[in-house]
């Protein structure tokens, strides 16, 4: 019988620390991965499999993730993202979310982004389909630059 002393969850979590301000999940289909590559910004990829250690954010970041699941929306947030956000520090540092999806999924288009936006009280900044068009890449690149600038200005005023 193990007796575990109460400690904070974060201190027990194994994970690789990252200072990237863009953190993303992409399955083996690599759609989201390709989108992030096209952004040409420093970014950290969450492990593809849930049994792998997740990441621990060190800096405020924006999360990019695709939506899974079908009509009911059940299982919309990838398990690997849940594992990552179950770490309190990762929730504290999230500043926004960008959703990937396919409008063919109707009401569940980019639903995972909506769920995280509500849960973590951060804006769902942008939605794109599959690996994104060049227009999506340009808008997100420009949008993120502005977003970070605005955030750091706000912080400086505090």
């Amino acid at each position: 019988m193990n007796v575990i002393a109460p400690t904070s969850a974060a201190s027990q979590v194994a994970g690789r620390r990252t200072t990237s301000r863009l953190i993303y999940f992409s399955s083996t289909s690599d759609n989201t991965h390709r989108f992030v590559e096209k952004l040409n910004m420093d970014a950290a990829r969450l492990p593809v499999y849930t049994h792998e250690d997740t990441l621990i954010a060190q800096e405020p970041y924006v999360l990019v993730l695709p939506t899974y699941g079908g009509d009911s929306g059940h299982g919309a947030v990838p398990k690997q993202v849940i594992k990552f956000l179950n770490i309190e520090r990762n929730r504290d540092l999230i500043r926004g979310v960008v959703g990937a999806g396919n409008t063919n999924f109707g009401e569940t288009y980019c639903l995972a982004g909506d769920i995280i936006s509500v849960k973590c009280q951060v804006p769902h900044l942008y939605r794109f389909e599959l690996m994104g068009t060049s227009e999506d890449v340009a808008r997100v690149h420009e949008g993120l630059e502005e977003f970070w600038t605005r955030l750091s200005l706000n912080q400086a005023q505090l």
Partner: protein, 325 residues
Amino acid sequence: MTPEKLKLASHVTAINWNRIEDEKDVDVWNRLVNNFWLPEKVPLSNDIQSWATLTPDEQLLTMRVFTGLTLLDTLQGTVGAVSLIPDAITPHEEAVYTNIAFMESVHAKSYSSIFSTLCSTKEIDEAFRWSVENVNLQKKAQIIESYYYGDDPLKRKIASTLLESFLFYSGFYLPMYWSSRAKLTNTADLIRLIIRDEAVHGYYIGYKYQKGLEGLSEERKAELKEYTFELMFELYENEVQYTHDLYDSVGLAEDVKKFLHYNANKALMNLGYEAMFPAAVTDVNPAILSALSPNADENHDFFSGSGSSYVIGKAVNTEDDDWDF
């Protein structure tokens, strides 16, 4: 054309779902099973009154569009998805194709449910006769079919992905258009189920295509990429003609073409290639986009607004059971 001989998987071993080589097979299998539906679940008879408000031209167009879609679903169900089985890399991939094939047959049958609810037998027979006689509809089926009987497994996947993710959309446009005008809304609900399925099919077959590219020579990869774009152009040219055949009578052809461009880009992305049509020609009518997905409009782009008017996404009651914070 006649196939030289029946192609089947060359060797079959008992499928073991407890030993998985590609997790994507399980993910997609589960998703397809969870998405399973039958046309009997959709209250199509609620559209009878709405159908009566369409002009004879509009009714004729709608029936023709649906027989065209029936042909593609039949092709994909009886030949397309089945032709992919012998080339499968994993046994679970074979099982996924059998699911896809069956669902295509469900889709094909569901158009008949719409017909029998809304139209007379004589009208139905005439629409099916049109589908046999329309040159451009027959041509697109023949182009795809010729690759299914061809001897290149990767080209079969390209053709199949373009069918799933591009060729259906000249037809899917119309029920979305009616839905945006509050017409045939139950029919549109059924079509949305088909649209959702085709997205998973196109995604999966495109994914398997990309898996098949791994380890090939750069030369062969370049050949396949070039081939993809050539086939896309060939199909696109025919699709434009087909669109005019159908939609000129109601003045919607130009609007439909934007929808074609938008979906052509998505078909290419499913195969791992960059979008081909620029934003200037993919600006789909917002009413059509929102009939497809209520979250697809510009209001959801935080970056393009001032940011001050931003509202956090609406609450959703679809959270994961195991979401434990």
